[in-house]
């Protein structure tokens, strides 16, 4: 339970921009109704995720110490952020294609 709460807290570093991009990509995917747009949506997610992580690395990574004290390395922090981000994106894209 604490592991999940910690992971969600870590995701909050990137929550706003990444959820916004996921939402916009999902809406475009849903409105187009064309599964071929999925490839563009995935590329959009990949490129923007890299840019967001670069921003975090440059300007926010000093706050990682709060989580480092909990035994979570910087690498694990980035991995958890990416894992949650892409889980949300995969779910949103699937829903957009199904409805």
């Amino acid at each position: 339970m604490l592991w999940m709460l910690t992971t969600l807290a870590i995701f909050r570093f990137i929550a706003f921009p990444s959820l916004l991009i996921t939402s916009i990509s999902s809406v475009i995917l849903w409105q187009s109704g064309n599964p071929l747009f999925l490839i563009q949506a995935i590329w959009t997610k990949l490129i923007t995720a890299l840019l967001i992580l670069l921003f975090i690395y440059l300007f926010e990574s000093k706050h990682f110490i709060f989580f480092n004290n909990l035994g979570i390395s910087n690498r694990a922090i980035y991995l958890r952020m990416i894992a949650i981000d892409f889980s949300f994106a995969a779910t949103a894209f699937t829903i957009a294609l199904l409805i």
Partner: protein, 218 residues
């Protein structure tokens, strides 16, 4: 009794040598003070020992065993940086939960903080935030704490109470502390080191602080 010691540290930025001849030892039940001028490398030293700044070489030992790789996961050392510890989106209450710190410990020493527990760190004053961060690290389960400028932004009466708490917590853990309020550090430290020209010198008497160029007068 547990021991944390570090030496063989070498850190340079380009051709500028920061740390080269370091030896510090701290045991549980001890407060070790680390003094040094601005830019002497105190914060870098703490970050290297904590494990989030890489050095060209280092040896950090816990009970005589070298800590290698990602030793943060062992939760041996808690680190309070000189800048904000808490991310702006975390409330004080959430921070306590993450660090498994009992709210009553905060209530016992600093009841005035109770009313801000539900607030995010970005919604309280700098002094309240700093005080809470120091308490969080001191009450954490880690056997050793590195405190980088814990007194910055705190009013004198709070510093006095915090010093009492540090001496109380010393019973359970080892604390390495650095701050420019050297008088405060000297009153609580069991061992004192000065960091100058990349080297640590153990201080046996106050006159040595002048000798090593840290103070101009006592």
């Amino acid at each position: 009794m547990a021991t944390l010691e570090f030496d063989s540290l070498y850190l340079a930025f380009g051709t500028h040598r920061i740390l080269s001849s370091i030896y510090v030892k701290c045991t549980t039940g001890q407060v070790v003070g680390l003094l040094g001028r601005n830019g002497s490398g105190k914060s870098c030293l703490m970050q290297i020992v904590f494990g989030n700044l890489s050095a060209e070489s280092k040896s950090v030992r816990y009970n005589g065993t070298s800590l290698m790789g990602n030793y943060m996961s062992k939760k041996t050392i808690a680190y309070l940086p000189q800048f904000d510890l808490l991310p702006s989106f975390i409330t004080f209450e959430q921070a306590l939960k993450f660090y498994s710190v009992d709210k009553n410990k905060i209530k016992a020493g600093f009841p005035e903080l109770l009313e801000v527990l539900k607030r995010k760190s970005s919604e309280v004053s700098g002094g309240q935030r700093r005080l809470f961060e120091v308490l969080l690290i001191l009450h954490s389960q880690h056997p050793f704490c590195l405190l980088d400028e814990p007194f910055s932004g705190l009013m004198p009466v709070t510093i006095d109470r915090l010093k009492e708490l540090i001496l109380e917590e010393r019973k359970n853990k080892g604390i390495i502390i650095t701050d420019h309020l050297h008088r405060q550090i000297r009153t609580i430290a069991d061992e004192l080191y000065v960091l100058t020209n990349g080297t640590t010198y153990q201080i046996k008497n106050d006159e040595q602080l002048i000798e090593y160029g840290y103070l101009s007068e006592l």
